[in-house]
Amino acid sequence: MTISKEKRNLAIAGILIGIISIVLVLLGNPKNMGFCIACFVRDIAGATKLHSAGVVQYVRPEIIGLVFGSFLISLLTKEFNPRGGSSPMIRFCIGFMVMIGALVFLGCPFRMVLRLSGGDLNAVVGILGFAAGIGIGSFFLSKGFSLGRAQKQSIVEGAALPAVNVLLLILFVAVPALFAFSEKGPGSMHAPILISLAAGLIVGCLAQRTRMCMVGGFRDLFLLKDGTLLFGFIAIFVAALVMNLATGNFKLGFTGQPVAHSAHLWNFLGMVVVGLGCTMLGGCPLRQLILAGEGNSDSAITVLGLLMGAAFAHNFSLAGVAGSADSVGGPGTNGKVAVILCLVILVGIACAKTFKKKEK
């Protein structure tokens, strides 16, 4: 397959994913949140009572669909490849910190693009921070950063997270009383279960086939002068922008944006954490879900880090607070301290895994 075919496939997949994202909003998901890996994993953490923030608790079928869609398509195409053992504990910790950065900004890279397509200019600040974080991560990569080589694992190990997702779906449908559900706020807003699940399955398949990854896009641009992977997200942006304009959901500006704040410094730094952490992990949160579906247990561990980070973010008031008519919103003192700590720890890990390496 040539590079140009990859760009074409990424563009087609991006357009489909952009359309699906806006359809999910029209059917009930929060505005500018057709998909958000950070928000949806956070909602699952709430639904499973890992945190008690009443407005963000729901078992998001999109996440289950993403992992299972990737799992199914990788089985069909014989790309299911159980592997792992590449610094799992460090990956868990980085996943944890990536989630804190994302929840300070109020969105993962995927939602950042969707927010921009809805006219939310705070997302521009986020993109600048995200690119800066990837730039820092790319610097460490160019100096030899590595979390070590993954090894082959058993099929059971590779299929564990997809199986957990199926179990979660069965319990969610059969015994919903087990879970906590928001009665107001973003957690109470959702598309019908079957449609959300189907959307996740389709996007999971598309993302697996095209390797869509926003972190990979910027990283390749910085390190290899190749922006192929960015085509997917450019296509998502264009498709979602057209859909938002057509449905009256486009509102340009910094203030009054849905589930967003205008504390620019913290939007920027939150996404620096996300960009740097994801570059060290080798992919954005969406990509981690897709790789976990392909049998990568390192990515599965990272997803658990994201889940635990979400729980801590809400239990310890680290997440950003959405702006209102009276306030620009943003993180409180705990969140600001957490972002600075995450940056220091991430740079520390990057240094430790870069400059002590011996060439072999």
Binding site: M1, R149, L229
Partner: protein
Amino acid sequence: MMVATFANHYGAMIFKKKVGTGCILRPVPRALSSSCGTCAFFEGPFKTEYVNENLEAVYEVQGEKYNKIYEN
């Protein structure tokens, strides 16, 4: 033309240093991997002295096809 795939970017950098001029790092083609890592395109022949611990495989490029000639 040959292409080498790696477990991480570091492996590709070391490989490029050993092969020298004529070796270009690029995103790994989708036909070779579902991961979005870095690969190295270079003119043959492939020598075992190029191998490092992060090298995964080496392929001979024949049009749009890739024939695996080495696996690490």
